[in-house]
């Protein structure tokens, strides 16, 4: 049955413009949630402070610490990494260098302690952590001293 357009049969306000506005608002909120940006997480340990005066430190038969200490430094105003293999490597080349150095090594068996000299930006620390994570290293600690 066809609905009548007779004004006597139209009750209440016209909802069509409201539906349009509400849908636009909905799309705006959905889009803004997406633009907040995806985040993810890189796990890192906070190692306990080294024991300076323990008996263990004086034990000549104690096994060497299996932790590899990497230090992020600055060379010619560019960030670089020291401690993995010989010399200091620019951060831009760290991934290929680390891949070479860790070849044949089980990355899950390595403990790496990251530290940085004064002035090194947090981004560079995360970049090194990111590279090591992608190479399969799971035990990464951030130096808190």
């Amino acid at each position: 049955m066809r609905r009548s357009r007779d004004p006597r049969h139209i009750y209440g306000p016209n909802l069509a413009p409201m539906v349009d506005v509400v849908l636009v608002i909905l799309i705006f909120f959905m889009a803004s949630i997406v633009f907040v940006g995806p985040e993810w997480f890189l796990p890192a340990a906070i190692p306990a402070e080294a024991k300076q005066n323990s008996d263990e430190a004086d034990d000549p038969y104690a096994l060497p610490d299996p932790t590899l200490s990497l230090r992020i430094t600055t060379v010619d105003a560019r960030p670089a990494v020291a401690g993995l293999g010989a010399g200091v490597v620019a951060i831009a080349e760290f991934e290929s260098h680390a891949t070479e150095q860790l070849r044949g090594v089980d990355p899950e068996a390595i403990n790496i302690r990251l530290s940085a000299e004064a002035g090194v930006a947090w981004q560079h620390v995360v970049t090194v952590q990111d590279v090591l994570t992608r190479l399969g290293v799971r035990n990464i600690a951030l130096d808190a001293s």
């Binding site: 539906v19 909905l26 796990p43 890192a44 992020i72 000299e117 090194v120 947090w122 995360v126």
Partner: protein, 121 residues
């Protein structure tokens, strides 16, 4: 339909508000790898520099460095959201304070960098 759409709008408003509470206004470091798993009730520690002062907040509430340990003690995990431009010597006292509070690990929050062809690595 209007009811459903209104419910969706309220939902997105609330989610947006909660997300902005946890994500304070700072530039995160970028990373090509990471874990997307979230942990319920985890504390988000936001670290940024305002002028020369280190500003800390936990889930949006400002906290002095000395009280950071007590602010995160009950949380099952700590997410560290530090500004990418912060020098490391401003982040390490935060790590030290967390360590003193018995926190043995943190989850460093980074922004995902997109791999070519639109996928994340």
């Amino acid at each position: 339909m209007i009811d459903v759409v209104m419910c969706l709008i309220v939902f997105y408003l609330l989610v947006g508000q909660l997300a902005s509470d946890q994500r304070s206004d700072l530039t995160l470091p970028k990373s090509g790898s990471g874990d997307e798993t979230t942990i319920a009730q985890a504390a988000f520690v936001n670290v940024r520099l305002e002028g020369d002062l280190l500003q800390l907040d936990v889930d949006g509430s400002p906290v002095p460095l000395a009280q950071l340990g007590s602010a995160v003690r009950a949380a099952p995990a700590v997410h560290l959201r530090a500004d990418a431009s912060l020098p490391y010597e401003r982040v390490s006292p935060v790590l030290d304070e967390l360590r003193n509070a018995g926190v043995r690990s943190v989850r460093v929050v980074a922004e995902q960098t997109m791999a070519p062809f639109g996928g994340s690595r």
